[in-house]
Protein backbone atom coordinates (compact mmCIF):
# COMPACT_ATOMS: atom_id res chain seq x y z
CA UNK A 1 0.00 0.00 0.00
CA UNK A 2 1.69 3.17 -1.22
CA UNK A 3 0.73 6.82 -1.40
CA UNK A 4 -0.45 7.16 -5.00
CA UNK A 5 0.59 10.75 -5.68
CA UNK A 6 3.90 12.63 -5.87
CA UNK A 7 2.80 15.27 -3.40
CA UNK A 8 -0.25 17.01 -1.93
CA UNK A 9 -0.83 19.20 -4.98
CA UNK A 10 -0.68 16.09 -7.13
CA UNK A 11 -3.40 14.61 -4.95
CA UNK A 12 -5.50 17.75 -5.28
CA UNK A 13 -5.13 17.74 -9.05
CA UNK A 14 -5.51 13.96 -9.54
CA UNK A 15 -4.32 14.25 -13.15
CA UNK A 16 -7.27 16.42 -14.14
CA UNK A 17 -9.93 14.48 -12.24
CA UNK A 18 -9.40 16.34 -8.96
CA UNK A 19 -12.25 18.77 -9.55
CA UNK A 20 -14.77 15.90 -9.88
CA UNK A 21 -13.43 13.80 -7.04
CA UNK A 22 -13.08 16.66 -4.56
CA UNK A 23 -16.50 18.09 -5.44
CA UNK A 24 -18.02 14.69 -4.65
CA UNK A 25 -16.04 14.47 -1.38
CA UNK A 26 -16.98 17.96 -0.20
CA UNK A 27 -20.68 17.60 -1.00
CA UNK A 28 -20.79 14.19 0.71
CA UNK A 29 -19.07 15.44 3.87
CA UNK A 30 -21.29 18.54 3.99
CA UNK A 31 -24.48 16.47 3.73
CA UNK A 32 -23.26 13.93 6.31
CA UNK A 33 -22.44 16.73 8.72
CA UNK A 34 -25.83 18.34 8.13
CA UNK A 35 -27.69 15.06 8.78
CA UNK A 36 -25.96 14.82 12.17
CA UNK A 37 -26.09 18.50 13.19
CA UNK A 38 -29.73 19.06 12.21
CA UNK A 39 -31.26 16.57 14.71
CA UNK A 40 -28.92 17.87 17.43
CA UNK A 41 -30.21 21.41 16.89
CA UNK A 42 -33.81 20.19 16.75
CA UNK A 43 -33.27 18.30 19.99
CA UNK A 44 -32.10 21.47 21.70
CA UNK A 45 -35.17 23.33 20.40
CA UNK A 46 -37.61 20.63 21.57
CA UNK A 47 -36.04 20.49 25.04
CA UNK A 48 -36.36 24.28 25.31
CA UNK A 49 -40.02 24.11 24.25
CA UNK A 50 -40.81 21.42 26.82
CA UNK A 51 -38.99 23.34 29.58
CA UNK A 52 -41.10 26.40 28.74
CA UNK A 53 -44.29 24.32 28.86
CA UNK A 54 -43.32 23.00 32.28
CA UNK A 55 -42.58 26.42 33.78
CA UNK A 56 -45.81 27.85 32.30
CA UNK A 57 -47.82 25.04 33.87
CA UNK A 58 -46.12 25.60 37.23
CA UNK A 59 -46.95 29.32 37.12
CA UNK A 60 -50.58 28.53 36.38
CA UNK A 61 -50.72 26.00 39.18
CA UNK A 62 -49.20 28.48 41.63
CA UNK A 63 -51.66 31.18 40.56
CA UNK A 64 -54.69 28.92 41.01
CA UNK A 65 -53.29 27.75 44.35
CA UNK A 66 -53.15 31.34 45.64
CA UNK A 67 -56.68 32.21 44.55
CA UNK A 68 -58.22 29.29 46.48
Amino acid sequence: MNFQFDNVSGMLHMAGHGIYVWTAVLVTLALIAWLIINPLLQRRRVIKEIAQDVSREQLRQNASGESV
Partner: protein, 254 residues
Amino acid sequence: MNWNWFYRMGSPRWFYESTSRWLPWFGALTVLLLVSGLVWGLAFAPQDAKQGNSFRIIYLHVPASFLALAGYFLMAAAGAIGLIWKMKLSYMVMKCAAPLGAVLTFLALFTGAVWGKPTWGSYWVWDARVTSMLILLFLYMGVLALQYAFDSKDVANKASAILALVGTVNIPIIYKSVDWWFTLHQPATIRFTEAPSMHPDMFQPLLVMILGFYCFYAVALILSVRVEILSRERKTSWVRSLVKQATHNSLGAE
Protein backbone atom coordinates in the same frame (compact mmCIF):
# COMPACT_ATOMS: atom_id res chain seq x y z
CA MET B 1 -44.04 -17.91 22.70
CA ASN B 2 -43.32 -14.95 24.87
CA TRP B 3 -43.78 -11.69 22.94
CA ASN B 4 -42.78 -9.34 25.74
CA TRP B 5 -39.47 -8.43 24.11
CA PHE B 6 -41.35 -7.36 20.97
CA TYR B 7 -43.66 -5.00 22.83
CA ARG B 8 -40.83 -3.67 24.93
CA MET B 9 -38.93 -2.83 21.76
CA GLY B 10 -41.96 -0.87 20.59
CA SER B 11 -41.76 1.37 23.64
CA PRO B 12 -40.36 4.82 22.80
CA ARG B 13 -38.93 5.13 26.29
CA TRP B 14 -37.05 1.84 25.98
CA PHE B 15 -35.68 2.96 22.60
CA TYR B 16 -34.60 6.34 23.95
CA GLU B 17 -32.87 4.95 27.01
CA SER B 18 -31.04 2.11 25.30
CA THR B 19 -29.85 4.28 22.41
CA SER B 20 -28.42 6.74 24.95
CA ARG B 21 -25.98 4.01 25.89
CA TRP B 22 -25.10 2.94 22.32
CA LEU B 23 -24.82 6.30 20.58
CA PRO B 24 -21.31 7.37 21.71
CA TRP B 25 -19.87 4.01 20.57
CA PHE B 26 -21.66 4.09 17.24
CA GLY B 27 -20.57 7.70 16.72
CA ALA B 28 -16.91 6.91 17.41
CA LEU B 29 -17.03 3.86 15.14
CA THR B 30 -18.60 5.93 12.34
CA VAL B 31 -15.89 8.59 12.46
CA LEU B 32 -13.14 5.97 12.60
CA LEU B 33 -14.49 3.98 9.63
CA LEU B 34 -15.31 6.99 7.44
CA VAL B 35 -11.99 8.76 8.02
CA SER B 36 -9.85 5.67 7.49
CA GLY B 37 -11.89 4.47 4.50
CA LEU B 38 -11.77 7.89 2.84
CA VAL B 39 -8.03 8.39 3.31
CA TRP B 40 -7.37 4.84 2.15
CA GLY B 41 -9.61 5.15 -0.90
CA LEU B 42 -8.54 8.65 -1.96
CA ALA B 43 -4.81 8.47 -1.37
CA PHE B 44 -3.66 4.85 -1.14
CA ALA B 45 -5.86 2.69 -3.36
CA PRO B 46 -4.29 2.19 -6.82
CA GLN B 47 -5.89 4.14 -9.65
CA ASP B 48 -8.12 2.46 -12.20
CA ALA B 49 -6.45 1.37 -15.43
CA LYS B 50 -9.24 2.81 -17.62
CA GLN B 51 -10.86 5.53 -15.54
CA GLY B 52 -7.80 6.92 -13.80
CA ASN B 53 -8.48 8.83 -10.61
CA SER B 54 -12.14 9.62 -11.29
CA PHE B 55 -12.94 6.06 -10.16
CA ARG B 56 -12.17 7.17 -6.58
CA ILE B 57 -15.70 8.60 -6.50
CA ILE B 58 -16.78 4.96 -6.12
CA TYR B 59 -15.84 5.24 -2.42
CA LEU B 60 -18.71 7.69 -1.97
CA HIS B 61 -21.09 6.68 -4.74
CA VAL B 62 -21.47 2.98 -3.93
CA PRO B 63 -21.92 3.38 -0.14
CA ALA B 64 -24.45 6.19 -0.65
CA SER B 65 -26.39 4.08 -3.17
CA PHE B 66 -26.29 1.04 -0.86
CA LEU B 67 -27.78 2.99 2.00
CA ALA B 68 -30.33 4.70 -0.24
CA LEU B 69 -31.67 1.22 -1.11
CA ALA B 70 -31.24 -0.40 2.32
CA GLY B 71 -32.85 2.68 3.91
CA TYR B 72 -35.86 2.26 1.65
CA PHE B 73 -36.33 -1.35 2.79
CA LEU B 74 -36.04 -0.23 6.40
CA MET B 75 -38.60 2.53 5.86
CA ALA B 76 -41.07 0.19 4.13
CA ALA B 77 -40.60 -2.49 6.81
CA ALA B 78 -41.17 0.08 9.55
CA GLY B 79 -44.32 1.20 7.72
CA ALA B 80 -45.57 -2.41 7.49
CA ILE B 81 -44.93 -3.04 11.20
CA GLY B 82 -46.78 0.19 11.96
CA LEU B 83 -49.76 -0.86 9.83
CA ILE B 84 -49.97 -4.37 11.29
CA TRP B 85 -49.19 -3.81 14.97
CA LYS B 86 -50.07 -0.10 15.20
CA MET B 87 -46.73 0.63 16.81
CA LYS B 88 -46.04 4.32 17.38
CA LEU B 89 -42.28 3.87 17.42
CA SER B 90 -42.34 2.08 14.11
CA TYR B 91 -44.10 4.98 12.41
CA MET B 92 -41.58 7.37 13.94
CA VAL B 93 -38.76 5.34 12.39
CA MET B 94 -40.56 5.41 9.03
CA LYS B 95 -41.04 9.17 9.21
CA CYS B 96 -37.38 9.83 10.11
CA ALA B 97 -36.05 7.41 7.47
CA ALA B 98 -37.73 9.36 4.63
CA PRO B 99 -35.66 12.58 4.62
CA LEU B 100 -32.50 10.63 5.45
CA GLY B 101 -33.07 8.31 2.49
CA ALA B 102 -33.91 11.23 0.21
CA VAL B 103 -30.59 12.92 1.04
CA LEU B 104 -28.66 9.67 0.45
CA THR B 105 -30.42 9.10 -2.87
CA PHE B 106 -29.63 12.66 -3.90
CA LEU B 107 -26.01 12.01 -2.89
CA ALA B 108 -25.90 8.83 -5.00
CA LEU B 109 -27.25 10.77 -7.99
CA PHE B 110 -24.92 13.71 -7.41
CA THR B 111 -21.75 11.67 -7.01
CA GLY B 112 -22.87 9.65 -10.03
CA ALA B 113 -23.23 12.84 -12.05
CA VAL B 114 -19.74 14.16 -11.23
CA TRP B 115 -18.38 10.71 -11.97
CA GLY B 116 -20.32 10.54 -15.23
CA LYS B 117 -18.83 13.74 -16.64
CA PRO B 118 -15.19 12.53 -16.95
CA THR B 119 -16.24 8.91 -17.66
CA TRP B 120 -19.28 9.12 -19.96
CA GLY B 121 -18.80 12.73 -21.08
CA SER B 122 -22.12 13.80 -19.58
CA TYR B 123 -23.44 14.70 -16.13
CA TRP B 124 -26.78 13.09 -16.79
CA VAL B 125 -28.12 10.31 -18.99
CA TRP B 126 -31.65 8.88 -19.06
CA ASP B 127 -30.23 5.48 -18.39
CA ALA B 128 -32.23 2.70 -16.68
CA ARG B 129 -30.18 2.76 -13.47
CA VAL B 130 -30.09 6.55 -13.19
CA THR B 131 -33.77 6.95 -13.98
CA SER B 132 -34.88 4.29 -11.49
CA MET B 133 -32.77 6.00 -8.81
CA LEU B 134 -34.52 9.27 -9.64
CA ILE B 135 -37.85 7.47 -9.10
CA LEU B 136 -36.52 6.32 -5.71
CA LEU B 137 -35.87 9.95 -4.81
CA PHE B 138 -39.46 10.84 -5.74
CA LEU B 139 -40.78 7.92 -3.66
CA TYR B 140 -38.87 9.16 -0.61
CA MET B 141 -40.18 12.67 -1.19
CA GLY B 142 -43.70 11.30 -1.63
CA VAL B 143 -43.56 9.50 1.73
CA LEU B 144 -42.29 12.69 3.33
CA ALA B 145 -44.95 14.85 1.65
CA LEU B 146 -47.78 12.55 2.76
CA GLN B 147 -46.66 13.03 6.38
CA TYR B 148 -47.63 16.70 6.08
CA ALA B 149 -50.65 16.28 3.78
CA PHE B 150 -53.16 15.17 6.42
CA ASP B 151 -54.42 16.78 9.62
CA SER B 152 -54.75 13.39 11.27
CA LYS B 153 -51.39 11.87 12.25
CA ASP B 154 -52.90 8.40 12.00
CA VAL B 155 -54.14 8.85 8.42
CA ALA B 156 -50.81 10.42 7.42
CA ASN B 157 -48.87 7.47 8.84
CA LYS B 158 -51.07 4.92 7.06
CA ALA B 159 -50.84 6.76 3.73
CA SER B 160 -47.04 7.07 4.00
CA ALA B 161 -46.69 3.40 4.92
CA ILE B 162 -48.82 2.25 1.97
CA LEU B 163 -46.86 4.40 -0.50
CA ALA B 164 -43.58 3.10 0.97
CA LEU B 165 -44.76 -0.51 0.60
CA VAL B 166 -46.00 -0.05 -2.96
CA GLY B 167 -42.72 1.66 -3.85
CA THR B 168 -40.62 -1.36 -2.86
CA VAL B 169 -41.37 -2.76 -6.34
CA ASN B 170 -38.81 -0.22 -7.56
CA ILE B 171 -35.96 -1.70 -5.50
CA PRO B 172 -35.39 -4.92 -7.49
CA ILE B 173 -35.81 -2.87 -10.67
CA ILE B 174 -32.95 -0.60 -9.60
CA TYR B 175 -30.84 -3.53 -8.55
CA LYS B 176 -31.38 -5.48 -11.78
CA SER B 177 -31.53 -2.49 -14.16
CA VAL B 178 -27.90 -2.87 -15.21
CA ASP B 179 -28.57 -6.48 -16.28
CA TRP B 180 -32.05 -6.14 -17.80
CA TRP B 181 -31.38 -3.13 -20.00
CA PHE B 182 -28.45 -2.10 -22.10
CA THR B 183 -27.15 0.75 -19.99
CA LEU B 184 -24.20 3.09 -19.76
CA HIS B 185 -23.95 2.37 -16.05
CA GLN B 186 -21.34 -0.24 -15.28
CA PRO B 187 -22.51 -3.58 -13.83
CA ALA B 188 -22.58 -4.08 -10.07
CA THR B 189 -19.19 -4.12 -8.38
CA ILE B 190 -20.39 -6.24 -5.49
CA ARG B 191 -22.76 -9.16 -5.86
CA PHE B 192 -24.10 -11.50 -3.26
CA THR B 193 -23.47 -14.59 -5.35
CA GLU B 194 -20.05 -13.92 -6.85
CA ALA B 195 -16.67 -12.56 -5.85
CA PRO B 196 -16.37 -8.78 -6.28
CA SER B 197 -15.23 -7.69 -9.75
CA MET B 198 -12.54 -5.54 -8.20
CA HIS B 199 -8.97 -5.97 -7.07
CA PRO B 200 -8.68 -6.47 -3.27
CA ASP B 201 -6.52 -3.32 -2.96
CA MET B 202 -9.44 -1.31 -4.32
CA PHE B 203 -12.16 -3.39 -2.71
CA GLN B 204 -11.00 -3.30 0.92
CA PRO B 205 -11.34 0.49 1.33
CA LEU B 206 -14.76 0.26 -0.35
CA LEU B 207 -15.86 -2.27 2.25
CA VAL B 208 -14.65 0.05 5.03
CA MET B 209 -16.63 2.93 3.50
CA ILE B 210 -19.79 0.83 3.18
CA LEU B 211 -19.54 -0.21 6.84
CA GLY B 212 -18.88 3.43 7.76
CA PHE B 213 -21.98 4.54 5.87
CA TYR B 214 -24.09 1.88 7.61
CA CYS B 215 -22.91 3.15 11.00
CA PHE B 216 -23.48 6.75 9.95
CA TYR B 217 -27.01 5.85 8.82
CA ALA B 218 -27.72 4.23 12.18
CA VAL B 219 -26.45 7.27 14.10
CA ALA B 220 -28.34 9.79 11.95
CA LEU B 221 -31.58 7.79 12.10
CA ILE B 222 -31.34 7.22 15.86
CA LEU B 223 -30.66 10.92 16.49
CA SER B 224 -33.73 12.03 14.59
CA VAL B 225 -35.99 9.31 16.03
CA ARG B 226 -34.92 10.47 19.51
CA VAL B 227 -36.00 14.03 18.72
CA GLU B 228 -39.32 12.70 17.41
CA ILE B 229 -39.80 10.72 20.63
CA LEU B 230 -39.09 13.73 22.85
CA SER B 231 -41.50 15.83 20.84
CA ARG B 232 -44.37 13.30 20.79
CA GLU B 233 -43.95 12.13 24.40
CA ARG B 234 -43.55 15.62 25.82
CA LYS B 235 -46.43 15.18 28.27
CA THR B 236 -45.04 12.04 29.89
CA SER B 237 -43.26 12.15 33.23
CA TRP B 238 -40.07 10.43 32.01
CA VAL B 239 -39.56 13.09 29.30
CA ARG B 240 -40.32 15.81 31.83
CA SER B 241 -37.69 14.57 34.26
CA LEU B 242 -35.21 14.14 31.40
CA VAL B 243 -35.79 17.73 30.29
CA LYS B 244 -35.42 18.93 33.86
CA GLN B 245 -32.08 17.19 34.09
CA ALA B 246 -30.94 18.51 30.70
CA THR B 247 -31.82 22.14 31.46
CA HIS B 248 -30.28 21.81 34.91
CA ASN B 249 -27.03 20.55 33.37
CA SER B 250 -26.89 23.30 30.75
CA LEU B 251 -27.54 25.97 33.40
CA GLY B 252 -24.75 24.48 35.50
CA ALA B 253 -22.39 24.60 32.52
CA GLU B 254 -23.10 28.23 31.67
